[in-house]
């Protein structure tokens, strides 16, 4: 059953790549939705295992939370936000897709290389997942760097958070429940705040292109 977990972690990484390959904001959101779904599954599997072994529900609860929040609520919220703000088709990313993709793969290799120091003390199965999830974080960060639109950056941030979730669920044991809970609350508020800010930006700047946010320099 742990095999599923491994596969899922790979799938999550893949979804990150796919996200990087996307061109349109709507498709960002969808890809994110899919990625969150994978994570929910992963949490579910781990949860079942944990329920069997230790009889703890918290991971299952987290699974539910993820489903509710990240698969349903947040993408919907983003869709709505995006629907409100002005929308014109334009090239959203600073480099072209192939280069971005190759950079991402480079990131994965880099992460693997840098986590090499741990190989002696942590079982390989965990290293694999660790590498995958950490690379997801870097890819998310890189996504934020590479996208101009505000919403693109929110998505990137969400991907980073996803990466963090996956990392928390390394192996069988997750973080203490309260921490995960706090993480969720923070996440929600963060997204809300960012959403509100996006509205305001759109009001004041008539665009959500963050390249226009460059008045403060020096």
């Amino acid at each position: 059953m742990l095999e599923f977990v491994k596969i899922l972690s790979v799938l999550i990484l893949l979804s990150a790549f796919v996200l990087m390959g996307n061109k349109r904001i709507n498709s960002y959101i969808e890809t994110f939705r899919v990625q969150s779904l994978f994570i929910a599954l992963m949490a579910g599997i781990n949860g079942i295992i944990m329920l069997r072994t230790e009889g703890r529900f918290d991971l299952l609860a987290i699974c539910v939370l993820i489903l509710v929040l990240k698969v349903i609520y947040i993408p919907g919220l983003l869709h709505r936000t995006y629907a409100h703000v002005k929308y014109e088709v334009e090239k959203d990313f600073i480099l072209n897709i192939p280069i971005l993709i190759s950079v991402c793969s480079g990131l994965v290799v880099f992460t693997y290389f840098c986590l090499g120091t741990l190989s002696s003390i942590i079982p390989n199965s965990i290293i694999l997942q660790l590498v995958n999830s950490v690379s997801v974080i870097w890819i998310g960060l890189f996504f934020m760097i590479s996208r101009k639109k505000a919403i693109g950056q929110i998505i990137g941030f969400l991907v980073i958070e996803n990466g963090l979730f996956v990392t928390t669920m390394l192996g069988t044991e997750g973080m203490p429940f309260i921490v995960d809970l706090g993480l969720f609350i923070d996440l929600i508020t963060a997204i809300l705040i960012m959403g509100i800010l996006v509205f305001r930006i759109n009001d004041l700047f008539d665009s959500i292109d963050t390249d226009q946010l460059n008045k403060l320099k020096g």
Binding site: L115, I121, V134, Q153, F157, L164, V179, I185, I201
Partner: protein, 490 residues
């Protein structure tokens, strides 16, 4: 006694929700900050006498010791000063019709939730919860930064939220690795309890810890405004309302630095030396000071200048922690205190200047000393203080750090530090001093202080930092020594 500290802000927030009259809101604000100070002082007294305190309830997540109390006191005292200042500040803003009376409520709500998050961050003993609280500080203060709701403020807020969230996320990765490094050593519940971690530091897995420290350094470093993660800081500090800038600079940075110090303690204890952490911290610290020096030299906006000077001082503290000798740690902690007092004083007096002249452009301002005799003088002296000129208090901590550097063998870093500090001073003088002198050219401005109470607070701070340079109250020193012991594991 400590557990009331988080509660007071919560109650305040609830009360503020209920009240409608701005008058009442001011009263509540003052009362709350006063109560906080009393509570904090009692707590400090207790800690000084009986060392660390752990509270049983909520699974014992509340924990206070000398280190957290130092930062806590800073938070609450600066909080008091700011709240006193805010009253006059907000009234003046309303008089100038920059904000609507309705916004006062929002202001206080945000401010107290901000304070609440910071108090939380400083009173929990669980790295995870501390992280949550610190992340929450970003969220609470985001709208405060964007409070003026113009293009610039909004841009600043956006950058603030994005960059800090990203940074903090990276810090969380570090915390996960901490957790991972404790696999098989500690039970799950205790695996993030930093006391437990500290006690079993020797048996944690070093390679994981090293990675963890890197992520935590970058993550909390972002909040603490260390270069090259500092980029949000000048924007946020310059665009936020002045009292909030004071809070950000005097308090928020320290709480972030607190997180780094906690992690640092464990990692050094585990590695049994400070070579690894020392190099990273020294590099980042010196880089921060250098960056600040470059930016201060040709700065045109006085609030930005102050912000960069905050970066510089965080850098100094980082250097102190990197050296990690008793003297250095002592100096670092002392520097935390002195810097927050001085810097918040500067931001508050800058706020007066801003409200008087309605510009942040240095070149547009003349004759501050004539128009604002008190806050102008405070600002001038404060600048000398912040640049590390004796007899002000920042000098006394800087000298400790420098001595530590030189006696710790890293002479050349010491030389670089001293010269960089001098350059920063030169930069401040060169770019900022012209606004103090000369006749006032705007006839519309009539001399005289606005915001009397606030100015009073400023003057009190000024006196504090002037005397603090030569004579510290001995129990403060006692407290610092305790914290130093905790950090060094003596």
């Amino acid at each position: 006694m400590g557990f009331i500290l988080p509660i007071i802000p919560v109650i305040t927030v609830l009360l503020l929700f209920l009240t409608r009259k701005s008058f009442l809101q001011h009263i509540i604000n003052l009362l709350a900050s006063g109560l906080l100070v009393i509570g904090a002082l009692l707590l400090t007294y207790k800690v000084v006498n009986q060392g660390s305190i752990r509270y049983g309830f909520l699974g014992g997540i509340f924990y206070v010791d000398a280190l957290s109390v130092i930062v806590l006191d800073i938070v609450i005292i600066i909080g008091l000063v700011t709240s006193i200042y805010s009253v006059g500040y907000l009234q003046e803003e309303i008089r100038q019709e920059k904000i609507r009376p309705g916004q006062i409520k929002r202001y206080y709500l945000l401010m107290y939730s901000f304070i609440f998050t910071m108090v939380m961050a400083l009173t929990v003993n669980n790295l995870g919860l501390m992280w949550i609280a610190i992340e929450a500080t970003t969220l609470a203060s985001a709208f405060l930064v964007g409070f003026d709701n113009n293009k610039y403020a909004l841009e600043a807020a956006w950058k603030y939220v994005i960059i800090c969230s990203v940074g903090i996320a990276i810090a969380f990765l570090g915390i996960i690795l901490f957790y991972l490094s404790a696999r098989g050593v500690l039970s799950e519940s205790a695996a993030l309890d930093w006391v437990a971690l500290y006690e079993n530091a020797k048996s944690l897995q070093s390679p994981v810890l090293r990675l963890a420290f890197i992520f935590i350094l970058v993550g909390f470093g972002t909040k603490a405004g260390l270069a090259p993660m500092h980029t949000w800081l000048p924007d946020a500090h310059s665009q936020a309302p002045s009292p909030i800038s004071a809070l950000l600079s005097g308090v928020l940075l320290n709480s972030a630095m607190y997180g780094i110090i906690r992690a640092l303690t464990i990692v050094n204890c585990n590695l049994e030396n400070n070579i690894f952490t020392g190099r990273l911290l020294l590099a980042i610290g010196i880089l921060s000071i250098l960056t600040a020096a470059i930016f201060i030299m040709t700065q045109r906006d006085y609030k930005r200048l102050l912000a960069y000077s905050s970066i510089e001082h965080m850098g100094i503290i980082a250097v102190a922690m990197g050296v990690f000798t008793p003297l250095a740690v002592f100096g670092g902690l002392l520097h935390m205190i002195n810097h927050s007092l001085t810097k918040s004083m500067l931001f508050l007096s800058a706020g007066n200047i801003l409200q008087k002249f309605n510009t942040m452009q240095i070149s547009k301002i003349k004759g501050v000393l004539k128009i604002l005799p008190f806050s102008g003088t405070a600002f001038l002296l404060g600048l000398f203080a912040i640049a590390g000129t004796p007899p002000f208090s920042i000098f006394s901590s800087e000298i400790n750090i420098i001595v530590a550097l030189f006696s710790g063998g890293s002479i050349w870093i010491g030389v670089v530090l001293v010269l960089l500090l001098a350059v920063v001073f030169a930069g401040i003088v060169a770019s900022l001093f012209r606004m103090f002198y000369g006749e006032r050219d705007q006839e519309t401005l009539q001399p005289g202080e606005i915001n009397k109470a606030g100015t009073g607070a400023i003057v009190v701070l000024l006196i504090a930092i002037t005397l603090g340079g030569l004579f510290m109250p001995s129990y403060v020193i006692e407290l610092i020594y305790q914290a130093q012991g905790l950090i060094l594991g003596i």
